[in-house]
């Protein structure tokens, strides 16, 4: 994070240096760019560019106190733009074509979102003309593939929440403990080795975790609790927890490392022990980043598919007992799409209704995490 500060300052210096070089004679070229009256600035920049440049360097260094965790940040545009072009028309036409192509490419990502929302709403809408939303959200039986059919999404929802909560119970304390150790206790050399090693865990494909859950963790659990079912929520939860440890550890560590050193030294000066400095000074200061990493991790766990499809089973079971088999929303979607379900049938459309529920939960958690970041953000320096 300190590097981002440095970069911002360097950029600002560069822009000023450029001003000095390009400023017309008779003007106070050494003055800061932001003080130049707009319009009278260096001929090179179109209008008020320099003022914006300088103004943007400041919020950027403020924002760098909080970690970027893949959440929307205020768009920062720091690259300089060219003057308006006075060239041969062929050259200008080519520039316009390039511009149009680049713009079209950037539209793809927006179209993706529109596509997702449109597909989910359209097909789920068709589903809800056959099945009342009331039944969907209140009935406690999910059996769309059997006769008589039941369409109560609650067992899938509870299954998803149960597994994600289990994963959180494993990953949050362990991940936070690792983050505190790496940020406050470990030497730089140890940190350089351990952090990437932990991050390897995040790169392992989920189908591999599924295999690990089914062939290693489940037999272990059955050794301890013999009445554990072969497919059970606990095994999937534990392994999913392992999967998201690096997410929590790495992002929380970033947040804690970004806390200014002066805060720690202030606490030491008041006679605090290392533990007290870590948990009562650094931890609260980094809270927004830590909470954001928790939310991101839980949201990843809830969207995870293959571990639960392999290890948690395929029984939509309204239970809170982690040793029983459950089915999550994601596992159901995979199960249906593996079988031969007729296109356009109600069974086919359950995919979209469940998918819409999942997508809505994702958006909700994203919104919560943005709100949390705003609420807890502590800005230093």
């Amino acid at each position: 994070m300190a590097r981002a500060d440095h970069d911002a300052l360097r950029r600002e210096r560069e822009v000023r240096a450029a001003d000095r070089l390009l400023a017309p004679e008779g003007q106070d070229a050494a003055g800061p760019a932001s003080e130049q009256p707009s319009g009278a600035g260096p001929a090179y920049f179109g209008g008020d560019e320099p003022a914006e440049e300088a103004a943007e360097a400041l919020p950027q260094s403020e924002a760098s106190a909080a970690p970027a965790v893949g959440l929307p940040e205020p768009a920062e545009r720091a690259t300089v733009r060219p003057p308006s072009l006075e060239g041969p028309p062929g050259r200008r036409r080519r520039e316009a074509v390039v511009r149009a192509i680049l713009f079209a490419c950037s539209a793809v990502s927006v179209l993706t979102t529109i596509g997702i929302v449109a597909v989910l709403l359209f097909e789920a809408g068709a589903f809800f003309t056959d099945v009342s939303p009331l039944e969907f959200f209140t009935s406690t039986t999910w059996a769309p593939l059997f006769q008589p059919q039941h369409f109560g999404v609650l067992p899938l929802l509870v299954g998803s929440i149960l597994v994600a909560l289990g994963a959180a119970v494993v990953a949050l304390p362990v991940g936070l403990g690792s983050a505190i150790f790496l940020s406050e206790y470990a030497s730089q050399g140890l940190k350089r080795v351990v952090k990437p090693a932990l991050e390897v865990l995040a790169g392992v494909p989920t189908v591999v975790y599924g295999y690990f859950a089914l062939t290693f963790v489940t037999p272990l659990l059955r050794g301890v609790w013999p009445n554990t079912e072969i497919f059970n929520a606990a095994s999937a939860s534990i392994v999913m927890g392992i999967m998201i440890i690096p997410l929590v550890a790495s992002l929380s560590e970033d947040a804690m490392s970004a806390v200014p050193r002066a805060l720690r030294e202030g606490a030491y000066a008041l006679g605090a022990t290392k533990l007290e400095v870590s948990t009562r000074t650094v931890l609260p200061a980094a809270l927004s980043g830590i909470v954001a990493s928790f939310i991101l991790a839980v949201s990843r766990a809830r969207g995870e598919t293959m571990i639960v499809a392999i290890a948690a089973g395929a029984t939509p079971n309204l239970t809170l007992n982690p040793l029983e088999s459950v089915q999550t929303m994601t596992a159901y979607i995979v199960q249906v799409s593996q079988g031969e379900v007729a296109f356009g049938s109600v069974e086919y459309r359950t995919i979209f209704a469940v998918g819409l529920t999942l997508f809505a939960l994702t958006l909700l958690m994203n919104a919560v995490s943005i709100a949390v970041l705003r609420r807890f953000r502590e800005v230093y320096e």
Partner: protein, 293 residues
């Protein structure tokens, strides 16, 4: 805490607090160890299960109902096809979007919307992309259950990751480079094409390789769009039916017989070696260019 009476009762309890500190230090160390031990156990478990089945014949055979004759040839070729097409689509698209956002986009609400949208897309569960692929590529565009449909779905999935990585790389190119190019009379595209992109390329490539390694390990969206579990032939073109390594692994795990579980472990070993090669390439690339720049 800071009232006068508290100050009178001041008792530092030094040794007690130090002891508590030592205890907690042990706990923090232990939790760091949990992740590392889990990684070692995971790899050891897979090597022990799979090493015995990993032979040259296993890599060059098609799948079979008999565990002794089954292999991963179809899955390996399928994975390569999907990977190749995904690279072809996602790399230019992602880099172009990043260039637009960093170098061209006007500073307005639309640009901000695109930026927020990309961050949101990166958090959407992969299975939702599978649903999109099923409805749009497989059904609406009637590409069927083909390599092409799979590659397009994965392209949308990894696009946000590539865009964000490329944006960071482009942003890191110093403005003096752009100023110098403009001063020499270069147009905006000439500046981007010949100065900014070459300097940002190591960062862009590293991000792209890591995103592609994610695509190689993806299972759920490809199951959604109907990659088949049993394909006794290697795909010959983008219109063919296909399977990929993770789906072959999932298929073998889903069978009750232990022999098939061992095949799954052997296939996982192959998958992990491929992923390690990807990550190694990314690390080497990063190291090489951070030194020379």
């Amino acid at each position: 805490m800071s009232t006068l009476t508290d100050a009178v009762e001041y008792a530092p309890r030094g040794p007690q607090r130090q002891r508590k500190g030592k205890l907690m230090r042990g706990l923090f160390l232990a939790s760091t160890a949990v992740g590392l031990i889990a990684l070692v156990v995971l790899i050891a478990d897979i090597v022990l299960d799979g090493a015995g089945s990993l032979t040259w014949r296993f890599i060059t055979s098609f799948p079979s109902r008999f565990a002794a004759r089954a292999g991963i040839r179809a899955a390996l070729v399928g994975s390569l096809w999907v990977l190749g097409l995904t690279t072809l689509f996602s790399f230019p698209l992602g880099v172009a979007t990043a260039i637009w956002l960093e170098e061209y986009a006007p500073r307005n609400r639309w640009t901000q919307l695109v930026q927020v949208n990309i961050a949101n897309l990166a958090a959407v569960p992969s299975i939702v992309y599978g649903i999109l692929g099923l409805a749009v590529f497989v059904r609406a565009m009637s590409l069927g259950r083909s390599v092409l449909a799979g590659a397009l779905t994965l392209t949308l999935l990894i696009l946000p990751v590539i865009i964000i990585a490329a944006q960071e790389a482009i942003r890191a190119v110093p403005n003096s480079i752009r100023l110098a190019a403009y001063a020499l009379g270069a147009t905006q595209w000439q500046t981007v094409r010949r100065q900014v992109l070459p300097m940002a390329m190591p960062g862009i490539l590293t991000g792209t390789i890591l995103a592609l390694s994610r695509a190689v390990g993806e299972t759920a969206p490809l199951i959604m769009i109907g990659a088949l579990a049993f394909v006794p032939f290697a795909p010959k073109g983008p219109g063919d039916a296909f399977t990929v390594l993770p789906i072959q692994i999932f298929n073998w795990i889903s069978r009750p017989q232990v022999q098939f579980h061992h095949l799954a472990a052997a296939a996982i070993l192959v998958l992990l070696v491929v992923l390690m090669a990807f990550n190694l390439a990314a690390v080497l690339l990063r190291n090489k260019y951070t030194k020379t720049l």
